[in-house]
């Protein structure tokens, strides 16, 4: 479809919430199960600590493994910056690709809004790059970062998810 030879993708959204609320929504399972694909993120925030994103019952019923994304924490500076590896185990193809590197940056601006920037280094992971860029149907797992961030914004600003 497109020439996605570029290995880095960047996504940015402005959210009316505190940096701490956004940090919690990204790193705490009670929040991550409330938006996007609704899995439970678990982080050990020490250097080289483990990250996993666990499937919920619905995902498991679709045949996904218990841990659908795994990784390691590289740098944790709450609530401003999180750098980690990010390796999806959706299927044999994504599992075979290189581990990707994901950076979240949360910057507080005036007026109680934050800018959230995701920089995803997808070197050596073309299939994962195609998935996270979005453009597919979110109900089939094709929403990518644009859909995940839009849903996060909706949840934090209105208390509710986007209607899909």
């Amino acid at each position: 479809m497109t020439d996605k030879a570029a290995t880095i993708q960047v996504y940015r959204i402005v959210i009316k919430a505190t940096a701490q609320a956004i940090w919690d929504a990204i790193t705490k399972p009670e929040w991550t199960q409330r938006y996007a694909y609704g899995g439970r993120a678990e982080y050990d925030m020490t250097a080289s600590g483990r990250f996993s994103y666990k499937a919920n019952a619905e995902m498991k019923s679709l045949g996904l493994p218990d841990e659908i994304i795994v990784g390691k924490v590289i740098e944790s500076d709450p609530p401003r910056k999180l750098v980690q590896t990010w390796h999806p185990l959706f299927d044999a193809d994504t599992t075979a690709e290189q581990h990707t590197r994901l950076t979240y940056e949360i910057k507080e601006n005036q007026g109680g809004v934050c800018t959230v920037t995701i920089t995803h280094d997808l070197t050596g992971a073309p299939r994962v790059a195609g998935m996270v860029s979005g453009g597919g149907d979110p109900t089939k797992g094709g929403g990518g970062w644009p859909w995940v961030l839009s849903d996060l914004k909706s949840l934090l600003e209105t208390g509710q998810r986007m209607s899909t």
Binding site: T2, I8, V10, R12, I13, S133, G144, W145
Partner: protein, 105 residues
Amino acid sequence: MDDDSIFKALADPTRRLLLDLLFQRDGRTLKELQAGLAMTRFGVMKHLKVLEDADLVIARRSGREKLHFLNAVPIRAIHDRWISKYSEHGLSALAALKTELENKE
């Protein structure tokens, strides 16, 4: 990032072309983008500034270079707010009929 700045940014053919260029290959320098356009460096810079103000393009430093990345999030938001609302089944059926009739000519 508000609707006005996004629609303003999209209301220009050169800026839409810049987005298309970044969609084909992301993370380009000003020089690389300028090569694809019949325009001065200053002209391209001005257009990139409008796209950056709308958060459609994000500039990041990489060593001595400034790379420009397409940010698809505002376009997703426009789609959710303005496109999916009006693209109910009836409208898409009409669009399909129009395409079919026009192709028969």
